[in-house]
């Protein structure tokens, strides 16, 4: 019975020491917050100017910030141009604020487990639920923080991937995965946050599109020009190769009109010119 009382007393004493330590730690935290101008209550009882915030040794105020500071001309809705490299070593810059359309920036990493589902989802772009007018750009940290080969392995063919650590700073990305939706007409961010599944992101985009339509946001109207882009150039190359004209063929480098139109005898007869009647 005596032994039990001794053990119980020791436990109570130990708990008292622990509680005292926690209270001391808590008081230190409160005091530190108070000194930063963010404290609740006044543990010392001294009068402080809470609006002044922390100051330098000379007394100049120092703004309280978390993470890298933003440029003076930016705020939380700014959408600066992202510039970096692709996993293949090409250079790429995306200016979502002036793109004239919605741009969804997906900040992903190669190492984060929760990003894996998004890398996989991007392999089936038709099932993402994004409208044709919304551009998807995946942004990883730059080659200083990510291995381009690993990014290339995860990226689906045709997926736009930009590697830039500066972009993560510019957009104040807290971690991955993180999504930012930019309205390219209004020139600002219209939504941002984290998600577990891409369907949640797609819903955010859909709502933004509805809002945009309500304010008569319209993207640039494309002109129907038929076969276009690399497909048009490939078709042209095929036509030339079928006609026996390959790279370096002399016919591609005419030096005279005869090279272009053949000998004069072979040309089409000139159409009669209209004669202006006198009078």
């Amino acid at each position: 019975m005596i032994a039990l009382s001794v053990v119980l007393g020791a436990v109570v004493l130990l708990m008292a020491v622990l509680v005292a330590g926690l209270l001391r730690s808590h008081a230190d935290i409160l005091k530190a917050l108070h000194d930063l101008g963010a404290g609740v209550g006044d543990p010392t009882g001294e009068a402080h100017d809470h609006t002044a915030g922390p100051t330098t040794a000379s007394g100049a105020p120092v703004p309280l910030t978390m993470g890298p500071t933003l440029a003076a001309d930016r705020d939380s809705t700014s959408a600066p141009t992202l510039a970096g490299v692709t996993p293949g070593g090409d250079a790429l810059a995306v200016a979502p604020a002036s793109a004239g359309t919605l741009t969804l920036l997906a900040f992903l990493s190669t190492g984060c487990a929760s990003c894996a589902g998004f890398w996989d989802a991007f392999r089936q772009p038709d099932r993402l639920g994004l409208s044709a007018g919304t551009r998807l750009v995946v942004v990883t940290k730059g080659p200083d923080r990510e291995i381009p080969g690993e990014v290339a392995d995860l990226a689906a063919p045709g997926l736009t991937v930009l590697m830039s650590s500066d972009a993560w700073t510019d957009y104040e990305v807290p971690g991955s995965p993180f999504f930012v939706l930019v309205d390219g007409i209004a020139g600002r961010r219209v939504g941002e946050g984290v998600a577990n599944q891409f369907s949640q992101v797609a819903e955010l985009v859909r709502r933004a599109e509805v809002d945009a339509a309500a304010f008569t946001l319209d993207t640039r109207t494309g002109r129907d020009v038929g076969l276009d882009g690399p497909a048009r150039e490939s078709a042209n190359d095929r036509e030339l190769l079928d006609a026996g004209i390959g790279p370096g063929d002399p016919s591609l480098y005419p030096t005279s009109l005869e090279d272009l139109y053949g000998p004069p005898d072979a040309r089409m007869p000139a159409a009669p010119r209209p004669v202006r009647r006198a009078g």
Partner: protein, 162 residues
Amino acid sequence: MPTLFAHGIGAGLPTGFEGRIFKRQGSGIEVANAVAQFASFALPDEVGDFGGGAVNLMGNDDVFAVLFEYGPDSVGTRLFAHQGLPGPLSTSDFQPHVLRRGLTGQSGTQWFFTEAGRPFTFYAVLGSHARRSLLVPRVNQLLEGVSVEPAPLVAPAGVPWN
């Protein structure tokens, strides 16, 4: 100002411009050279070297430009005799008939030159010829930020290591 650099080409992008500097996959009989594309609108993923697939998306206030490198065998030919990047360009340098693909209302300009020992053509399109007095300065602003480095020396085939 956002800056791009790849394949020996650098560019400081004016506000609102997108860009990419890349090399296409060579086809075996064709050697891929550097291409730099710039646009004041969203560049589609798939764009032809001279803007096919992009120029038809341009609005009236948009600009598209490309710097296209030719093979080293073009160096010294008359077409590329001009030394240095073009510019500053004037409004009279842009004409609708210069367009590689004539889209109503647009106009373009094209220059052949050699810079840093590398043969290039610079081709630019204005979304609206009528607004060229506003758009040509944007092209000039873009040109001011473009730089080209000499091509890296490549040892000819068959040269022994030592």
